[in-house]
Symmetry: C2
Subunit: 249 residues, 2 copies
């Protein structure tokens, strides 16, 4: 029954779990890299911590997994609490279990990444207690992050860079109806390189997974572009073949 103290670990405990992390019923946590696309840039959602350790630092949103809760569910809970959204594209990224990654004791965290559609107006919910505020940060200029969160973020970026070349995840960041130029910008910001417009369109249309709509973009000055939709049916039909999107260089 010494379990608790074992879990809290030996040599390094500037805080005990009991005092600093009330309700810490488990040493599993979930951290989440939430990607969004806004103003032509790839961004992630960070919170400003309201608790020790790393009070006032920026961090990835995270939670402790409840004992009767699946890890996946915990990840969905984070998203819901912060954004009010559910039914979001989300994948497990990696599990970080360095003995000393958390200064308060042994905390193993399972990292997820998610992609959400930012329509631009949608407000972030007033954040939960452990965070003062939550903000979208462009990935090109992230602040220093708490814990090993910088490493977690880097890993998530690597992962989506690879993934975007064989799975249609770019669409998760765009509104249902989008222009080819917007889509190209998503690819460009994830891959961090410029793509050729004509080649991009040719390739993308060739996959035959988009549906061209009768509708044009609205509310832009200058010529409006045609809108497209991602066509899940067509994609599913092709899915066996596993497209190779934008294999580049």
């Amino acid at each position: 029954m010494q379990l608790f103290f074992h879990l809290c670990g030996g040599e390094h405990k500037p805080y005990t779990l009991k005092t600093t992390l009330p309700g810490f019923e488990s040493v599993f946590s979930v951290d989440c890299v939430i990607f969004g696309f806004q103003d032509g840039e790839l961004k992630i959602l960070l919170i400003e911590r309201n608790e020790e350790p790393f009070k006032d630092w920026w961090a990835l949103p995270g939670l402790t997994v409840k004992n009767d809760e699946g890890i996946e569910c915990a990840a969905e809970r984070i998203l819901y609490e912060l954004t009010g959204l559910s039914d979001i594209y989300m994948e497990q990224l990696y599990t970080f279990g360095e003995v000393k990654r958390h200064p308060s004791g042994r905390v193993i965290t399972v990292a997820y990444y998610a992609m959400i559609r930012l329509t631009g107006h949608k407000e972030l919910k007033p954040t939960t207690s452990y965070a003062k505020k939550a903000f979208w940060h462009p990935i090109s200029e992230l602040p220093q992050l708490a814990f090993d969160h910088t490493a977690i973020f880097e890993k998530s970026l690597q992962k989506i860079r690879r993934k975007i070349s064989y799975q249609p995840i770019a669409f998760e960041l765009l509104p249902e109806k989008f222009t080819l130029t917007q889509l190209q910008h998503v690819y460009e910001s994830i891959l961090n390189k410029k793509l050729d417009k004509r080649n991009f369109r040719k390739k993308m249309l060739n996959y035959d997974i988009l549906k061209e709509l009768d509708e044009k973009q609205r509310g832009v000055s200058y010529r409006a572009a045609t809108l497209y939709k991602f066509d899940r049916r067509k994609y599913a039909r092709l899915f066996q073949k596993e497209l190779s999107f934008m294999k580049d260089e």
Copy 2:
């Protein structure tokens, strides 16, 4: 301080952790899919369990992570205890955290996969207490596995199938010196499809990551093939470009 019982979980406890899993100091475990290549087949190492639950079933080798032990280290421990090998290619696969995946309580497991060189003679060490024996099983005819281990295995296979197309993991399964045909057989058994001999060789040699040796295969009846070595230096030079191995169909 009810922590322990929380962790052991609510509705489902045919066994208590205390009695069935002595020394169960943590609810993290590590399970490992260990791949080897033998007799032209891809195999994995399974143990026959010597303990409840799932006594007498085949299972992936697994361990409980110690409180002061990194997850990675735990994974290496499994390998070492079973095979006496260390310094092995090993990667994290996925974390399985379904609330009910373990009948004795909440056990979150981090799965790894490893690839080892089977020279054919090397004996498995007399196994540890929780296992009666350990055996190499061809992946084409696996028995039913304990817990959710079948799902873990399937995921590992998916992962290496993808990975082999962009990273040189096939070499991890072969002896240092190998023939091109052996290499092709590794690709074929991971991808589960026949490849064209001439195209395979052309492609593989084109990458320029192999070193042709002055040596021939020995001990075979019939014509001996030239031996090759994987050249890590050459590979590192090319690494930026990230080869696309055997992208098929």
